[in-house]
């Protein structure tokens, strides 16, 4: 029998339509992660129009996209491959000690995990929420699907939180960095970095894959895909693969991600108190991750007798390159001649490896 959707719509669906429109608006008008918020917002609209069957098992479009591509972890991993093709690890290779700044910034993950337990989430949900502090969208989605695969309400909130806060890095980070550093420290200039040979760049992704695979096997899908993408780029002889991985394939994966996340954001699953809690815990995770990196940067400042600007530690969260840009901008606000961007890129790309490793550890322990 034919039914009119207008009379079947619930207030939760109306609210979600408003949220979908808001996401599209933020993406297009405010240019906040438009390639993600655009498709996600539109998919939210699709998913919340009643009686369409688009989210219904077994053949609704959004259902199939989510179940086959997102729920299995395939799309976040393909996006990681694309990120690998676009990531330059040279600043990290030139200054390997910045790896540990990328580790310190993962403290936010574990502090948020603890707080999530305190406010009433179970351990697997808390671990998924903690990963928001990794400031890495694909990692957050991948970890959430592995840890709480049967609970779309958690995955949806974690995903929205992770991507939203990545876009808000320039707003969230500066006050925390300012609170934990002095003006004099922020004015520190750092010298020129050494040149990195192509052979080092080629050996790096292979070496990281083997080492991480041997120590944290459950992190290998994420780290391995990141590194194979990077090898495409650094080898110098796989330009076609690098180009496809970083452009066409990544775009396809991003569209699928948007549709899949939209599937999760239906009125029934998203409008809950737990969503609000997760969004607040996400801010806490992000803020403590920034603080962890900056405080470790302070340790480097002391050990280097004032040669290392502690702000670069804040870039240890893996929001590449936004976190590095924040450090560069703050450095130039204090000293127009300061160029911290490449120095911050070291911990920044280390943070990508760090957050993927942390996610792998949590999956290995809890999934």
């Amino acid at each position: 029998m034919f039914e009119v959707g207008l009379f079947a719509i619930s207030w939760q669906e109306v609210a979600m339509l408003a949220i979908g429109l808001l996401l599209v608006y933020l993406g297009i008008a405010k240019k906040m992660e438009p390639l993600l918020l655009g498709p996600i917002g539109f998919a939210v609209i699709l998913a919340n129009l009643p009686l369409t069957g688009i989210t219904e098992a077994p053949s609704g479009l959004l259902y199939v996209v989510y179940e086959e591509l997102i729920g299995t972890g395939i799309i976040p991993l393909i996006i990681f491959l694309g990120i690998g093709t676009m990531t330059d690890f040279s600043p990290l290779l030139a200054n390997p000690k910045t790896f540990l700044l990328g580790a310190a910034a993962q403290l936010g993950i574990f502090l948020a995990l603890g707080l999530a337990i305190i406010v009433g989430f179970d351990l697997n949900a808390a671990a998924s929420i903690g990963i928001i502090g990794g400031a890495d969208g694909p990692t957050a989605i991948y970890a959430a699907t592995q840890l709480v695969g049967e609970r779309p309400e958690i995955i949806a909130a974690v995903t929205v939180s992770a991507y939203s806060y990545m876009a808000l890095v320039p707003i969230i980070q500066p006050p925390i960095i300012k609170a934990l550093t002095t003006k004099k420290q922020r004015q520190i200039r750092m010298g020129k970095m050494r040149e990195v040979s192509q052979l080092e760049k080629i050996v790096f992704p292979i070496g990281v894959t083997i080492i991480v695979g041997l120590i944290v096997p459950s992190a290998l899908p994420l780290v391995g895909m990141l590194m194979i993408g990077n090898l495409f780029q650094t080898s110098g002889v796989m330009d076609r693969l690098s180009d496809t991985g970083g452009n066409a394939l990544m775009d396809i994966a991003t569209i699928m991600l948007g549709l899949g996340v939209g599937f999760l954001m239906t009125g029934g699953t998203f409008i809950r108190i737990s969503t609000l809690k997760i969004l607040l815990l996400g801010v806490f995770a992000f803020a403590t991750a920034t603080a962890g990196g900056t405080l470790f940067g302070q340790l480097y400042y002391k050990l280097s007798k004032g040669k290392i600007n502690p702000m670069i530690g804040a870039a240890g969260v893996s929001a590449v390159p936004m976190a590095s840009r924040v450090v560069q901008k703050m450095g130039q606000e204090e000293d127009a001649g300061s160029h911290l961007l490449m120095h911050a890129m070291g911990p920044n790309v280390a943070g990508v490896i760090g957050s993927a490793t942390a996610a792998g550890i949590l999956i290995g322990l809890l999934a």
Binding site: L100, L123, S197, A358, L362
Partner: protein
């Protein structure tokens, strides 16, 4: 497994893994630059000098 155990193991393994990556990156960087890259650079330098000399008609 308790939440505290997860937090302690998690932080510990992240630091151990990235410490090993730090040391490995230093080590491989040193080895590569000492035994491979400099040699290549020297060869390129010599080839450039030879090419420049030949261009001037020298031997």
């Amino acid at each position: 497994m308790t939440p505290l155990e997860v937090v302690v193991i998690g932080i510990g393994v992240v630091f151990v893994t990235l410490t090993i990556l730090t040391l490995s990156t230093y080590l491989f960087g040193k080895i590569i630059n000492k035994f491979f890259v400099e040699e290549e650079d020297e060869k390129e330098e010599i080839a450039a000098i030879v090419a420049a000399v030949q261009a001037r008609g020298g031997q």
